[in-house]
């Protein structure tokens, strides 16, 4: 799902670098856990929460079962409202279409509301290379843009940064007073700057949270109102969406709006849910619908359910591995459990470590508002990577050997006895030089195994 280059996705190494900074690790973990707790509180006031999840999952599964029909219906309705609908096969085509629209209108300054799809497609770089200035208007997204780095979370793009670091950044780039770290003051500084960007913009690009087939409208959810500002000042609005964003009916929207904000940030509803049904008078609305690997996932029965995702980020907030390794450790736009099942579809070799960046604790599956069985998919991916021989040879050989031993009682008993005999005799330095023993003591090595004790007890 990603076109970003130059980043390794060896998760263990990246994660170890993140863990090495203990203060940041604790703070990152606690910040996200705080959001998870907010989510718990916000869902606990909905007695029918589990029913709502099932309903959301069912609607999405139904939509995916006849996705082409709903996309066609959406296209017809949106066109009838005066919008222009474009289909893009991949990131490259998406970027070309967007650039074409901007170039035709002689646009050189664009404001963008947060969109993970355009991140995946590398749109900013593409447009900048063609001489178009792109300003991200979501505060978190703007922060990472100014730092020339990708977002580390799909809902809170700058969650990996401390307010002091943002203060320094705003001092360097926006003239904020040195040493400012009050979030309110920093937000005001950014807002003042963004006002100028918004007023000067010739086009606004947004993502899409939901596209309604029945009405032909798109819905964009933001907490800062930046999608509204970015589309009401300039006359050209380009909305970019993946094919899976379509929902059948207007009345389905309520189900998803209730699920989305609660799961994402623990809010009852997002501050702004903006509906765009056709262009505003005198303006133009273009909707670019992107596949970029999604229909391939749709064609794979076990993995299809990942397309139900409404991009709330709850799986990241709850994931104990994500919380302790940071979004950048995954090396993809969508990190965490969801990213770890999406990324290997695009390049299984490059992202082969991601399905292993999980303890398979299952919290992601239970927190998911549309019931995606994320941890089961991580496990399936492991099997698939193993089958394709994309797991490092050393690990594969160890598994094969273990498999051979464990299928034979005599070999298992024999090696168990040897291990219990030899472990206490090994030098401490050796025991502490491996990935288990560096920070943990080994388990005890009793003289007798359970089966030996059992035999004795039974007089066998």
């Amino acid at each position: 799902m990603d076109t970003r280059e130059g980043m390794t996705t060896e998760h263990p190494e990246n994660a170890a670098a993140f863990v090495a900074n203990d203060a940041r690790l604790k703070w990152h973990d606690e910040s996200l856990w705080f959001v998870r707790q907010k989510r718990d509180r916000a869902t606990s006031v909905i007695p029918e929460w589990e029913t709502l999840r099932a309903l959301g999952a069912d609607i999405k599964a139904h939509t995916l079962s006849r996705l082409a029909d709903y996309l066609e219906e959406f296209e017809q309705k949106a066109t009838a409202l005066g919008a222009h609908v474009h289909f893009a096969r991949d990131a490259e085509e998406h970027n070309r279409i967007v650039h074409g629209l901007l170039a035709r209108a002689n646009v050189t300054r664009v404001v963008k509301s947060k969109s993970m799809l355009t991140e995946q497609c590398g749109l900013n770089h593409y447009l900048e290379a063609h001489g178009i200035e792109v300003i991200d208007t979501d505060l978190g997204e703007r922060i990472v843009q100014l730092r020339h780095e990708p977002p580390s979370h799909i809902v809170m793009p700058a969650i990996h940064l401390k307010k002091e670091e943002i203060g320094d950044l705003f001092h360097d780039t926006m003239g904020a007073a040195s040493g400012t770290s009050d979030p309110k003051v920093l937000t005001e500084v950014a807002r003042g700057r963004l006002r100028g960007n918004l007023l000067a913009a010739q086009a606004g690009i947004t993502g899409v949270n939901f596209a309604i087939a029945e009405t032909g409208g798109v819905v964009v959810c933001t907490n800062e109102g930046n999608a509204d500002l970015g589309t009401s000042i300039p006359p050209l609005h380009i909305a970019c969406m993946g094919i899976e964003k379509v929902i059948p009916r207007a009345k389905d929207l309520g189900v998803f709006l209730r699920l989305l904000a609660r799961s994402a940030t623990g809010q009852p509803v997002t501050a702004y849910s903006s509906h765009f049904h056709g262009p505003r008078p005198g303006g133009e609305l273009h909707i670019v619908i992107v596949d970029h690997g999604r229909s391939a996932i749709l064609g794979r029965e076990h993995y299809r359910r990942t397309l139900q995702c409404i991009r709330c980020g709850a799986c990241m907030n709850t994931c104990p591995v994500y919380r302790r390794s940071g979004g950048h450790s995954y090396g993809v736009t969508v990190p965490g459990p969801l990213g770890a099942v999406l990324a290997p579809h695009i390049d299984p070799k490059k992202h082969r470590s991601l399905p292993f960046a999980s303890t398979l604790c299952g919290s992601c599956s239970d927190v998911c508002p549309v019931q995606i069985d994320l941890h089961q998919q991580l496990l399936l991916w492991r099997g698939e990577l193993g089958h394709a021989e994309l797991i490092p040879l050393r690990k594969r050989a160890a598994s094969q050997l273990a498999g051979w031993v464990l299928a034979r009682t005599w070999a298992y008993e024999f090696l168990g006895r040897i291990a219990r005999w030899i472990l206490p005799k090994l030098p401490k330095a050796l025991l502490r030089a491996n990935d288990w023993g560096r920070q943990r003591e080994l388990p005890p090595a009793p003289k007798e195994s359970f089966r030996e004790l059992y035999r004795r007890r039974r007089g066998q």
Binding site: P12, R324, F356, L379, R382, G386, L406, A445, F450
Partner: protein, 250 residues
């Protein structure tokens, strides 16, 4: 009489034989006839979770061969039980139904099948570690993510013991970071997670950390001992066997 095959995970057999004995004694105390089929080895989970489904298949075949004839299969591990009940479908799809209905985690078996209400004395403050696979794959408790009527089978078994207190945890059911081969493949995150769990139990004043999976406890114990911390770990079977010794209630 209830006829039980004891399924003792490989690492419990080799490193924690006392947990196996506690399980055996406990089940016998409740009047079951318990057999330990000695040809057993392992459920295959370490190999399976490492992505070698092909290598795990013969292990699953062996498991079936060893255990098929018994009325019940009981295991003092949520993770290994879940491997058989939920994941053998990938390995032995045509024979999974018979296994599913008769394979139980120990606490689940005591609670659901035997309706056990253990009585006895265990005057300690314990931190209950809800192991993930027991929690979210076997549903031994309701889990903090889901909005369902709260329940906890392990806790309800323990809470009948006289003198027992439970440490209050700020994150009641977060993963300890063991995760099988994850513990070595992702050493840094694994250790950070384990230390986080220990800190939570320490804040809650736990003397003993207990749970239904010795593997999670092995990881936590490894950290506790290296850091020379006074908290001990005990498998829930050990607590129940010790507390109910000489009583024998059903």
């Amino acid at each position: 009489m209830i006829d039980i095959a004891l399924f003792i995970p490989c690492y419990v057999d080799q490193f924690y034989p006392k947990v196996g004995l506690a399980t055996l004694e406990l089940l016998e105390r409740y009047g079951a006839r318990v057999d330990y089929p000695q040809a057993q080895t392992c459920c295959g989970q370490p190999v399976f979770n490492s992505g070698s489904f092909d290598a795990a298949k013969p292990i699953a075949d062996k498991f079936l061969e060893v255990f098929s004839s018994y009325q019940y299969i009981v295991c003092p591990s949520g993770s290994c039980t879940s491997m058989v009940r939920n994941h053998y479908a990938e390995l032995v799809p045509d024979r999974i139904a018979e296994l599913r209905s008769k394979t139980f985690e120990l606490c689940e078996f005591l609670h659901d099948v035997l309706g056990a209400k253990p009585e006895g004395r265990f005057a300690h403050r314990v931190g209950l570690h809800a192991s993930c696979h027991g929690l979210r794959e076997l549903r031994l408790a309701s889990g903090s993510e889901r909005r369902v009527q709260p329940f906890d089978k392990v806790r309800s078994l323990l809470s009948g013991l006289e003198g027992i207190e439970f440490a209050d945890l700020s994150r009641g059911d977060e993963c300890c970071g063991f995760g099988g081969t994850f513990a070595v493949g992702e050493e840094a995150v694994s250790v950070a997670m384990g230390n986080g769990r220990i800190a939570d139990h320490e804040r809650g004043g736990a003397e003993i950390i207990t749970g239904g999976d010795m593997s999670c406890l092995m990881h936590l114990d490894g950290l506790l001992r290296r850091q020379k911390k006074p908290i001990r770990v005990m498998h829930v079977a050990e607590i129940l066997a010790e507390a109910t010794g000489g009583h024998g209630h059903t």
